[in-house]
Symmetry: C2
Subunit: 345 residues, 2 copies
């Protein structure tokens, strides 16, 4: 009663003068037990401070945990700092509450990415987008536990959900770049540990994150079709999906010669960072600088950002239900370009 869940079914059984099984029934299927017995058992349990079956023993016996694991990249605070991750998790949470499952947040550490997975007490994994060939993916697939991934990579053995980033990339690039002289892309990271860099017309396949790669490919494709030499398009690759880093990067570029006059940003977060930089410098948006975002977050709506809208919340829900086998697969998520006040067209 005082420290730890020390009281066992056996002790309660002894006190109540019944067998352990009856105690088990009393807690799990009370209707199976005679009213008088039930009362006696519960009284003994209360007296001894027994609050219910030990979860570890029950899980061992039943072979299930009643918990779903969400695999996030370190640091775990990302889950709470990042808008997109936040919405995804909210969707996962909504499905888990319905299914009476707990959520375990798993942080992939650098020193041993695999152990977090293999030692997780969960019935399924949901993985937040990872770079291709990341060891975590392999660990999840080999765990033998049902699993799904948002944003790829798309590998056998993992349920996959992701919007058509390439197609949307073309559309949003057009919205951003139409009529521009010095267009640029503000890119999400290419890999897990990478400094921010300024590239010129990089090969999209250099990006290890599928989401980044596909969005970049879409941008390139539109440029090629529109006759804009891809080599001349600058791509500022950030180290993180961070408002502050984006603001700083764009501020530097706006202060330098040949400042950009169009920015296709791969997330609302960094688009808003760019917007902040422009605003601080008095650069009129969209007249002198058009900016687009991605995701359709609350702050983007308030800021009047032209952006690609998708529901990470719904994708989180759908992936969760599919991984649990409640629905059969996940449809490709819908998206739309929402034109607001940060683009010229």
């Amino acid at each position: 009663m005082t420290s730890g869940n020390r009281v066992t079914i056996a002790q309660v059984a002894r006190d109540a003068q019944v067998s352990p099984m009856t105690v088990s029934y009393a807690f799990n299927q009370p209707e199976r037990v005679a009213a008088a017995t039930l009362e006696r058992v519960l009284a003994s349990a209360a007296k001894l401070g027994y609050t219910g079956p030990n979860p570890a023993a029950r899980s061992l016996r039943q072979g299930r945990f009643g918990t779903i694991g969400v695999v996030l990249t370190e640091p775990l605070t990302y889950a709470f700092d990042d808008l997109a991750a936040n919405r995804f998790l909210a969707g996962v949470a909504s499905a888990c509450v319905e299914q009476r499952l707990g959520i375990s947040l798993l942080s992939v550490a650098d020193d041993n990415p695999v152990q977090v997975i293999t030692s997780a007490a969960v019935d399924a994994f949901l993985v937040w987008t990872q770079p291709d060939d990341d060891p975590v993916i392999d660990a999840v697939v080999h765990s033998g536990v049902p699993a799904g991934i948002l944003g790829g990579p798309h590998v056998p053995g993992l349920l996959y959900v992701s919007m058509d980033d390439r197609a949307a990339g073309k559309v949003v690039t057009e919205a951003a770049f139409a009529g521009a002289q010095r267009p640029m892309v503000l890119s999400l990271p290419f890999g897990r540990h990478q400094e921010s860099v300024l590239l010129h017309g990089p090969d999209p396949t250099d990006a290890g994150y599928p989401v980044t790669r596909h969005r970049l490919a879409g941008a390139r494709e539109w440029c090629l079709e529109a006759g804009i030499p891809w080599d001349l398009v600058r791509v500022a690759v950030l180290a993180r999906n961070s408002h502050a880093e984006a603001a700083q990067t764009i501020a530097a570029l706006l202060d330098a010669p040949e400042p950009p006059d169009a920015i296709m940003a791969m997330s609302d977060e960094i688009a808003l960072g760019a917007l902040t930089a422009a605003w601080e410098r008095g650069v009129p948006v969209p007249e002198a600088l058009s900016i687009t975002g991605w995701d359709g977050s609350e702050p983007a709506t308030r800021a009047g950002l032209t952006t690609i809208e998708q529901s990470l919340y719904e994708q989180g829900r759908a992936l969760t239900l599919a991984v649990l086998g409640i629905t059969d697969g996940v449809p490709e998520p819908p998206w739309t370009l929402v034109r607001r006040t940060t683009t010229r067209t």
Copy 2:
């Protein structure tokens, strides 16, 4: 290898021609095992698809889970929607990552609040503020697992962390109400399931949530000292800590006779809702309407809101470390009134 974590230590042991104990050592204390043996064991494990000890069995044997449970009110999406909860969780997460612990999000359902607690596979509980006498509190205390609560109630057996809401309430009420003719409080909920209501000088002890109660008590105390009849002070009690609900409530009051000219709001979230309502109506802030918030969130800073700043992140961290026994207790969290542009003084 295909479905579930079916391979056991025993099978690997047989294949590697060693005892189960050696396999256990190979995974838990590899340095204890001869190099050649280790290699053989790992080869067998890889061959059979054994990825490591079954977490349930290990937890049962060791009596610990390596996980900390965070108890949140239903719906669980609150954790991701609410700014304050979000910061608290980020702080918890930072401490858990350091300690190599997982985080389990537990949603308290209405139908059986206790079972979620008793069946949680965790080594400690962190509870997000609950109403006094809520059954969840009791369940947590009786679980025998170390536990802490943010925002109260302050009960024996639970570590407690909360800023001095009453003292700050006085200070912020002064900032909001100074020189006002028709001051009002925009209040967080009084209880878990309650419609929104408009009260006149309510007794603070009617509020079941300690945070609400103490902030209201602070407001009342300042009014009494300043000679403002508390009975004349309107208190709009919201059903949820929601921007939208706050905006709607304040919009209605601004459109009615005797609109408020000062609002002390108990969170940034609802203060910003009030600000939106004022802004939509063209009510000049702070000239015709002063507004204060609480928490010192990002959006509040951007909006220039006068507010009480505290770090829920640090409080989350501190409470986690204390509950784990790594630090000894939690100091009372610091706070400051930050005057910005939404108040007259």
